[in-house]
Each structure stands twice: as C-alpha cells, then as structure tokens.
C-alpha cells in the first residue's frame, strides 16, 4: 500500500512538473525545449540485460 502511494505521488509530481515546465513558454521556446528533450531521450541508454542466472546442477 505504501508503495502504491509512493508511486502515485511520484507519478503525479512528474506529470505536474512536466505540465508546469511548459507553462509560460512561447511556442518557439517550447520547440527548442522539445527538440532538446528529444535529443536527451535519444541519448538515454537502454536498460542493461539482467544478469544471467547460473544453471543448477
């Protein structure tokens, strides 16, 4: 239950923060920010493959 609430708060903060960040920008400023965010997404590394479990005897 605590995990639920933690995640709810975390995801809500992300959504509200994301919403507020673009407020007050002109559309041209938003374009610059959008393309910068796209480049950051492009640079994000994929998740590393999980460690393979050793096989049992």
């Amino acid at each position: 239950m605590k995990m639920n609430i933690d995640l709810l708060i975390e995801a809500l903060i992300i959504a509200i923060f994301s919403f507020l960040k673009q407020q007050g920008l002109t559309d041209e400023e938003a374009r610059v920010q959008f393309l910068a965010a796209v480049d950051r997404v492009d640079m994000q590394k994929d998740l590393p493959s999980p460690a393979t479990q050793p096989e049992g005897p």
Binding site: M3, I5, D6, L7, F19, A30, Q33, Q44, L47, S49
Partner: protein
C-alpha cells in the same frame, strides 16, 4: 502481488498524467504539447531505470522482457517525432526500422502498424495518440 502492488497507483497516476497532457493539448500550442510528451517519456524512462536498478533479479527479468521493449518503442517514437520536425527523413527512417526491430526481437504482442503509419505520414496528432497508447501499454505490462 507484492512485486507490482504499485500498479494500480501507477495506473491511476499515469491516467491523471494523461489527462493533464491531453488537457494541456487543448489550450497550448503545438510545440508545448510535443515538449510535454517528450519530457514525459524522458522522465518516465529515468524512473524505469531507477526502478530497474533497485529491483530484485526476478523483477529485473520481468521489467526487461515486458516493460523495456515498450519503453524503447516509445523512445524511438519520440525521437522520430523530433526527426519529423527537423525534416530529417534519414533519422525518421532509422527510427521506424528500430521500432520494427524492437517488435520482432521482443516477440511482442503489439502491432506497430498505426505507430509506423503515423511516422511515415508525418501525422503529429496520430503520433501523439500512439505514444499515449504506448504509455497505457507500459502500465498494463506492470499490472
């Protein structure tokens, strides 16, 4: 189950976030909408990474096989969105190929037709909706 007890909370939060994004779309300019979308994918990918690093081996295997491919597709879609805006057709084609590879490699139960069609036809509105649909899919994989 304990592993993904958070799913209902996350689903609610993502739904509320989607409402915020969509309501934002109703009264903001085109690039503000796109910025919110790209920002959201970026932050949620970071969140998945943090969750992955803290996960047990079993959880890691699940996240890697069932959530990561959809997150990768969402990332390629957002990068494709940027390529569309920059009129970089080479990059756009590369992102479409990457999406196709991701679907094939992950043997996913996901039909990328609408997403790829939106990228090929450079339909911003359809692409936004497809990315939002991908987010819902990611949440579904967590439940």
């Amino acid at each position: 189950m304990k592993r993904f007890k958070f799913a209902s909370g996350a689903a609610l939060a993502i739904a509320l976030g989607a409402i915020l994004v969509l309501s934002g779309c109703a009264f903001t300019g085109k690039y503000k909408q796109l910025y919110m979308l790209a920002d959201w994918v970026e932050i949620n990918h970071q969140s998945l990474q943090a969750r992955y690093e803290a996960a047990t081996d079993e959880e890691k295997a699940y996240l890697y096989q069932n959530v990561n491919p959809f997150m990768n597709i969402a990332k390629h879609a957002v990068v494709g969105l940027g390529a569309m805006d920059r009129e970089d057709d080479v990059k756009l084609a590369a992102e479409i190929t990457a999406i196709e590879k991701e679907v094939t490699a992950g043997k996913l139960d996901y039909d990328p037709y609408n997403l790829i069609w939106a990228l090929r036809t450079k339909d911003y509105n359809a692409l936004e909706l497809e990315i939002l649909a991908l987010k819902r899919l990611i949440v579904a994989q967590l439940t």
